[in-house]
Symmetry: C2
Subunit: 221 residues, 2 copies
């Protein structure tokens, strides 16, 4: 068919299809011919949009990590609410395509994130958070978010109401009882309590001295 009347591909369509394919079949099953088949074209056509497989994967990583819309927050919000909103959104993006998580780690070296970290620290500093806590907060929240996203299925799925397999009450009675106490929380809500617990630790820990508000509001039960 050579050149079609209307171009069937765009770089964005290619990336979107790559994300979907990796999400469904996993990174190991990903290849240029398979992606092309998914898009209804032949493999060489993809090289018109990306120089090689690696630059396509870089674009995939960037897309997964980038929010669709920037976060907007009320003016008077506490800095912790801002961080929680950001973290919840990041986790949600990763969880949507957990198979892409290794790409994130591989193609987003920390030094390229200095700019973003600088912004966050400035924001924290402006909110009165002492420098000694800023690293703990940013790094801890990042680790918690990434870890929670990669674990993927979490406790909420193992409670009776969730999707996953549920532990047997006879074989695992204590785990069972513990899970019953979170019955009704979605995995988003559960993740949010993790974040708030962590921030409670930051605020309530011995190093806490110059924080504007005494505690982070907890989720309503």
């Amino acid at each position: 068919m050579a050149r079609p009347k209307n171009a069937s591909l765009t770089a964005e369509k290619v990336v979107d299809a790559a994300i979907a394919l990796i999400g469904e079949r996993g990174l190991e099953a990903f290849s240029m011919p398979k992606l092309a088949a998914e898009l209804g074209v032949r493999a060489p056509s993809l090289y018109h949009y990306f120089a090689d497989k690696e630059s396509l994967l870089v674009a995939v990583a960037r897309m997964v990590a980038t929010p669709e819309a920037p976060t907007t927050m009320p003016e008077d919000a506490h800095w912790s609410e801002y961080l929680i909103t950001q973290s919840v959104a990041l986790r949600r993006r990763i969880v949507r395509y957990p198979q892409c998580a290794p790409l994130l780690v591989r193609y987003m070296p920390r030094e390229k994130m200095f700019g973003e970290y600088e912004q966050l620290c400035q924001f924290l500093a402006a909110s009165g958070v002492p420098a000694s806590l800023q690293v703990s907060i940013v790094d801890g929240m990042t680790a918690l978010t990434l870890g929670a996203a990669i674990l993927g299925e979490n406790a909420a799925d193992y409670a009776d109401s969730g999707d996953g397999p549920s532990p047997d009450p006879v074989e695992h009675p204590t785990l069972r009882r513990a899970l019953d106490t979170i019955e009704g929380l979605s995995s988003d809500e559960l993740f949010e309590t993790f974040l708030r617990t962590y921030l409670d630790g930051v605020l309530g820990g011995s190093a806490c001295s110059a924080t504007p508000t005494p505690a982070v509001r907890r989720l309503p039960r």
Copy 2:
């Protein structure tokens, strides 16, 4: 050479070499011929020890996740110290071969860990931790550990004394100042402060009512 006088392979040697190879070159560069070359044999010999590539990778995941020696703790240690010791050890194992982390996630489905979770919850219950906190603690610590391990290089490496690239004081002044406050902490120590911060949150949060000791000891500065 056919059969050698002394068998040159064992399942364990194969797994060890696989871990080393994946650690050095990454999961994508891993293949049976390359692993065989590393061991000084031909690829088909590996199939004598593992039915296929996948069962070899399962064995790799198991090896990375399993501690060499079980943790021993003083009798009177607080439960939080026990959890911290476990988490620090797990992170250290993952960080040693961060390229294997995707294997862990892929080949260790949560339901196979019910047994371990049951044990942890029993341990927490015996220490007087209410059921409502047990999930938060176990899941939160796991996420924090996995996330911190996968992020790999952490803030400690970006401080002046660390290995990694350091942010420029002119371009990233606030980040720079924040990192200077953790100067001198190793990445292990920094991770431990994350864990203690999280546990401070668990203990100090509003849900805290029946905890035996009021606060978790912080690392000495």
